[in-house]
Every structure is written in C-alpha cells, then in structure tokens.
Amino acid sequence: MAYSQKVIDKFEKTLKNPEEASVGRWKPGDKDFHRVGTGIVGAPACGDVMKLQIKCENVDNKNVIVDAKFKTYGCGSAIASSGQLIDMLKGKTIEEAQQISNQEIVDILELPAIKIHCSVLAEEAIHRAIDDFKSRRNND
C-alpha cells in the first residue's frame, strides 16, 4: 500500500503513544459524562469501526469542543484519519466542527483514492457525535 509518510507517522504515533494521541474513552458514570457526545460509525463486517467522543463546554453561550477521544478498528488510514480528525476538532465550536469536510482530511494525509472512504467515515463520526451531544442537551 502506497501510503504517504503522513499516514504512516500518524499511525505509528498513535500506536506508540495512544494516550497522547487521544485514544481512550469516557464512559457513563465519569464526571462530566453528560457533556460528552459519542458517535460510532462503520461495521466490523466492513473492516472499519470508528468511535469518536467529544467533550464540550459552554463558552460565551457556545458549545466548544474542549477535548476529544477516539478508538478505531480499521486499516492504517482509518486509524490515521481518526487521529487527524481529533487534531482538527479541539477548540472548535460544534458549529465549526460540523463544517469539517472529509476532503480536508484527504488533503492533509494525502490519502490514496482507494482510501477516501476512511475520511468519509471520520466526517460521519463527527456528525454523529454532535447529534448525540445535542440530543443529550435537549434532554437536560
């Protein structure tokens, strides 16, 4: 597989130091769990499952993503795409995050054409996580 050095670096960093690369999870019972939105996309049978969590805080009446964590089952570029997404999310409002397109991830990681679906999965994951966060706020 002809991956760019960027995919390889991202993948290897994630493996070597998962915590620093934001691998992890918040689970029910954790402090602030009510401020966490979770998105799970993909399917084991397709070879890709991405789980993204965002933690938001209210800053000037806007929901800002202050932290994010992920876990991904999938090929090297799926893992790199998730890590790249995380880097792009932190500090953004959920409205800004909603605007992130898969093409940005493709460009940054120089994904080969056959791996573009990995970036699409990442885009879907953020949408799901935001939807989940919003539905939780509505229930508050």
Binding site: M1, P18, A45, G47, D48, G74, C75, A78
Partner: protein, 401 residues
C-alpha cells in the same frame, strides 16, 4: 532494516545453486542457443539441457518426462489444462466441477468458460477447507468432463485428498486436474500411483525463477488438450513458443534440489510453524484458519479478532506477511477463501497468513512471535471492538451504522 520474510507462499527467493545453472544459459560463452534449432550444436546443447530439466521435474513427481509440458507458470498451466480439456472434450459434455476456494487462475478461467456456454459447479469446502468426497460424488453428472481442485490451498494450507478424489474421478470417467503450485517439492506427489490426469506447477514457489512452470499431461490413459497458443509446434504442438532455456534449467534445478531436500525442508518448516503457534497460542481471541493437525505447516493462517489485518501488517512493518483483509486487496473484498469456509467477515478482515520456507530461521520466528504479540495488543488498545468485547457487549446484537 530489511523486513523478515514470511511470505514464501507468495513467492520464494531463487536458490543460489539455481542461479548458477541459469547463468550458464544466456551469453555467447554459454548455452544461449534455441533448443528448437536442429541444424547446429548450439541448438542441440540447449535441447539437451531442456531435456535434462524435464527429467528433473518428472523425477520429483514420478512420471514420464514426456508428460511434462513447459509453460510460463501455474496460471498458464491452469488455463491450458482447464480450457484445453473443456474445449477438446466438449462434445462429450460441458459440465465442470471445481471449488469456491481455488486460486483465481482456476476460478477466473472457469468464469470465462461459463461465458462460453459451459456449466460450472463450485463446491463448498467443509469448515476446515477441504473438499469432501461425498460432495464431489453428489455433483458428478453424465455430462461432467472435468474436475479441477487444488492440492494445497494457498491461503490456508489445507491439503485435499487427491488420491481419493482421483479414484472417484477415474471411476466416473472424468478428467482430474490438480493445481499443485503450492505443493510440488513441499509434500510427496507420486503421479505413477495417483489418478491425476493434469497437474499444474510453478517454479517460483519452490526457489526457482518466476515466469516458468509446467503442466503434467497424462499419457496413459491419454489426455488431449486444445492448445491456447499456436505457432512453431514446440512441446508437441500443445504449447507453441521458443523454449526459454535459462528459465527451464532453473526450474529443473529447483525441482532437483527439492527432490533431495524436501524431507529436511519439511521438518524445519514444521518446527517453525510449531514455534510460532506455541508462542501465540495463549493469546485471547485468536483463531486458526485451516488446521494445525492436518494442514501443510508452511502456510499458517491466523485471525486476530478485533484487529484489522491491514493495520496489523502496518504495525508489523519489519515482517513481510499477507492478509485476507479487504484493505489489502484492490477489490476491497475480504478473502473469498475465508468467507467460503463460513468464517464471519470480521475474522476474514483480521486474518494474517504466515508462510515459511527453506531460508526461515528459528531466530526470525522468535522475533516474529514477540512483534505479533506486541502489535496485536497495541492495536486492541485502540480498537473499539476490543473495548466492547472486554465490556461483555455482544457485537452480533449491535445494529451497525
């Protein structure tokens, strides 16, 4: 650092003893002549070498040298055997039986024949990957002319019982073709006792060069084939084209070495597989695709559940292996072989094939054990499926998006 090579089922390095022989057949000082040239010594000498190589190949397989036809490799041999027999005997019938886990060289050839009006039955293997005699018997019809089944499966190492299958085919007057690309020189093949009519071979799977192979075509009872290539009448008109002396000599030498070293090679390879399995066997959620007890030990296929195969290959960057994962294939489909065994797709995505050979060392296997263990646990650490499994979630009950 050069990665450790564990992909011998894909191809093998050429044995240096083979290279030495090949080098003598290229330059002006060497045997560069056309083996088909009947009018001078250059041709005669080249022909002599070709016939010596033919003998070496036939000697390993215990058949008559006249039953060996040179081809460009096992793919061509499979094409020639299947299309050649199907077309020659099409007045007798147009039904062919094969299995779902054959190499693409057989499957795609059968698909082509289907488009030309032949009818193909694709047998399901049992869960270990072998073809049952009963399943074959139930599918043989009056118009069946050909059965094509592989000897050792290239992905999972399962060995078909070609002795029993051959007996059944012969009783029913059906031609039996065997793709032996993975087995020749690895396990014993005795064509004088087997009821095999056509058998495909490759040189590069057994430390010979790429681009050369052979097809065994039985003389008694005589099997006839419609040729694929037409031209100068070489190989008794069955396969036209100038014989590549250096390639043929390389294949002959490789088969000769295999004849002498097969038993030792097999013993070493078995011990490597045992070392690998002993090292990994204690891991949680790993599955053998094929059989440790009855499979060919040189091909060992494992699924590491909750870890995707391509990512594992990337993590194992210092080891050269292959995977049944969709992500490593151009089609984005997981291994059709593992699916045909009834393995769920997720286990096919998680599969890695380790294949060992003559030059594998014990040290290499030991470092592989450690690398695999570390990489699998690293990838499970970042896998949401592993997390769910640890939490006791039943993944089959989840509705995946």
């Amino acid at each position: 650092m050069k990665p450790l090579y564990f992909d011998y089922a894909s191809t093998t390095p050429v044995d240096t003893r083979v290279i030495d022989k090949m080098k003598d057949c290229l330059s002006l000082d060497g045997n560069f002549g056309n083996p088909g040239s009947r009018s001078h010594a250059f041709g005669w000498q080249a022909e002599e070498l070709v016939e010596e190589a033919r003998f070496n190949v036939s000697n390993l397989l215990n058949c008559d040298p006249r039953e060996i036809i040179w081809t460009s490799g096992a793919t061509e041999s499979d094409n020639l055997a299947i299309k050649g027999a199907a077309n020659f005997y099409k007045e007798k019938g147009k039904h062919i039986i094969t299995s779902k886990i054959e190499h693409k060289a057989v499957l795609d050839t059968c698909r082509q024949l289907e488009s030309e009006g032949f009818e193909i039955t694709y047998l399901d293997p049992d869960e270990n990957g072998s073809i049952s005699i009963k399943a074959l018997q139930d599918n043989i019809r009056k118009d069946t002319t050909l059965v094509s089944l592989m000897h050792i499966n290239n992905e999972i190492g399962v060995i078909n019982d070609i002795e029993k299958i051959g007996d059944l085919c012969r009783e029913n007057g059906v031609i039996f073709h065997v793709d032996a690309a993975q087995s020749a020189g690895k396990i014993n093949i005795d064509l004088s006792s087997l009821k095999v009519d056509l058998m495909s071979f490759s040189a590069h799977k057994i430390y010979g060069p790429k681009g050369i192979g052979a097809l065994y075509v039985r003389r008694r009872p005589r099997i006839r084939l419609q040729p694929l290539f037409h031209g100068g009448g070489q190989e008794r008109g069955i396969r036209a084209g100038t014989l590549p002396t250096h390639q043929i000599v390389g294949m002959g030498e490789a088969f000769k070495i295999a004849m002498n070293e097969m038993v030792d090679d097999h013993e070493k390879i078995s011990s490597h597989r045992d070392t690998l399995w002993k090292g990994l066997n204690g891991m949680e959620e790993i599955y053998v695709n094929g059989s440790v007890e009855t499979g060919y030990p040189g091909i060992f296929n494992l699924s590491f559940n909750y870890v995707e195969g391509e990512s594992l290959i990337m993590a194992l960057k210092n080891i050269a292996v292959s995977s049944g994962s969709a992500c490593t294939s151009a089609s984005l489909e997981p291994s059709y072989v593992l699916r045909a065994l009834g393995r769920p797709d997720e286990l096919a995505h998680s599969s890695i094939r380790f294949s060992f050979g003559r030059f594998t060392t014990e040290d290499e296997v030991n470092s592989t054990v450690e690398l695999v263990k570390d990489s699998v646990s690293q990838l499970r650490e970042i896998s949401p499926l592993w997390e769910m499994y640890q939490d006791g979630v039943d993944l089959d009950k989840i509705e995946w998006a």
